[in-house]
């Protein structure tokens, strides 16, 4: 084997080692947050180590409207205005999205823990692919994934795009609305579960 090929072979071994390390270290850099594929039960054992006061959560204004939606599932509510007076987590998701699914155990934990304290979740389902737009598939997936909170059907993704500034919108994304319907917290992607829970606690504790 020539010298160049030997260097390339050594480099290949190094790349494989780095890739292996990336998988081994998955999540170990953030002990607060459970692993992405954690079962719902494991999320309950995670203590909230972050504290936030409501004054640290900037007021980003009244939430945008729900535009061109196709209805609600698992709820008698038909608008966000009906939820004023409650702290509401609005999450954009779609059931085929791996990262969205990873957040759901934590959302379920929040719902279980705080729903009796004036907290509600609204999952705005914005499908990426055609099969995710079928209501029967959404209902089936919601049952499988433990989504028991209200779901808004945003088949044409007009709400998905109108809520998110800029031309590119993302799944998953969570907004926390205070009791007056103002956006006070926003996070894209997985993670920051303890921070999100601390924000929920702060907004629940805030006088209406």
């Amino acid at each position: 084997m020539g010298r160049s090929r030997a260097f390339a072979a050594a480099g290949l071994v190094a790349v494989i080692a780095v890739a292996g390390a990336a998988f081994v270290l998955d999540g170990s850099d953030d002990p607060v947050e459970p692993a992405a594929e954690a079962e719902p039960a494991s999320a309950s054992s995670v203590p909230v180590t972050t504290t936030v006061s409501a004054s640290e959560l900037p007021d980003r204004g009244l939430h945008p409207e729900l535009i061109d939606i196709d209805g609600w599932l698992q709820s008698d509510v038909t608008s966000l205005e009906e939820l004023e007076g409650k702290v509401v987590a609005v999450q954009f998701w779609t059931f085929g999205c791996r990262n969205c699914k990873a957040t759901l155990p934590h959302m379920a934990e929040l719902y279980e823990t705080y729903r009796d304290q004036g907290f509600e979740i609204v999952g705005i389902h914005a499908p990426e692919f055609g099969f995710e737009a079928e209501v029967a598939n959404i209902t089936e997936a919601a049952a499988e994934l433990g989504v028991t909170w209200p779901i808004v059907l945003d088949t044409n993704k007009r709400t998905f795009h109108s809520w998110q500034e800029g031309p590119t919108a993302h799944w998953p994304r969570i907004y926390l609305l205070d009791r007056n319907g103002h956006i006070r917290y926003d996070h894209i992607g997985e993670g920051r579960y303890a921070e999100t829970e601390a924000a929920v606690q702060a907004l629940i504790a805030e006088p209406g």
């Binding site: 390390a21 270290l25 800029g166």
Partner: protein
């Protein structure tokens, strides 16, 4: 930054990164594992990543179709540049490097990323200022190019005979042109769906 780099490597095993990786892998093979095109792919991907985080460009169906035509043409150009008479005046290696950079950049427009913890934090923080997120997204994009680096190294280790290399180049280029062609005819969503289902079954 290290966490972003590692998350990107993990994301390369997910279907969401396939449309970013496929053209880059094709270019790595078409350019016979040369270092200059690989570096150009990395630079293109990092620039595209910055644009993605800045969230200032809307990539609608029209530009996606144009990008499909462009990438298909560039792959064909990279493969055929040594034998095209009117390009003989040019250094075909430079042409390959330039086309690899453009393909690396354009592929980020096709990308539908898995937004895990690190990329999510980068995107969330970018809302309050993009500049501070450039190191993080650069690390992330370099993480996504690790399979391309592996492909470059594999080609260099195998160091195929010229005839074999030519056949491999044409096969890889053919795959790239088919993928680019699918975008050019407005089949982006179907392509993503197909790749997603293929990669998850």
């Amino acid at each position: 930054m290290l966490a972003a780099f590692a998350e990107a490597i993990r994301a390369t095993t997910q279907p969401c990164t396939l449309l970013l990786l496929l053209p880059a892998l094709v270019m790595a093979v078409v350019t016979r594992g040369r270092w200059a095109p690989f570096v150009a792919i990395c630079i293109g991907a990092v620039l595209g990543g910055w644009l993605f985080v800045a969230n200032v460009v809307a990539v609608s169906d029209g530009p996606l179709q144009i990008s499909g035509v462009l990438v298909g043409a560039l792959i064909i150009l990279a493969i055929t540049s040594p034998s095209v008479p009117w390009l003989r005046w040019a250094d075909h290696r430079s042409i390959e490097t330039a086309t690899a950079g453009v393909v690396g950049f354009v592929a980020t427009l096709w990308w539908r990323p898995c937004i895990g913890t690190e990329l999510g934090s980068i995107l969330t923080s970018a809302r309050d200022g993009v500049a501070g997120q450039l190191p993080g997204i650069s690390a992330y994009m370099l993480g996504t190019t690790m399979p391309v680096l592996a492909a470059v190294l594999v080609v260099r280790v195998i160091d195929p005979a010229p005839e074999t290399a030519r056949r491999v180049t044409w096969v890889a280029g053919g795959i790239g042109v088919v993928v680019a062609g699918a975008l050019a005819v407005g089949r982006h969503d179907e392509l993503v769906t197909t790749l997603t289902r293929w990669a998850t079954t």
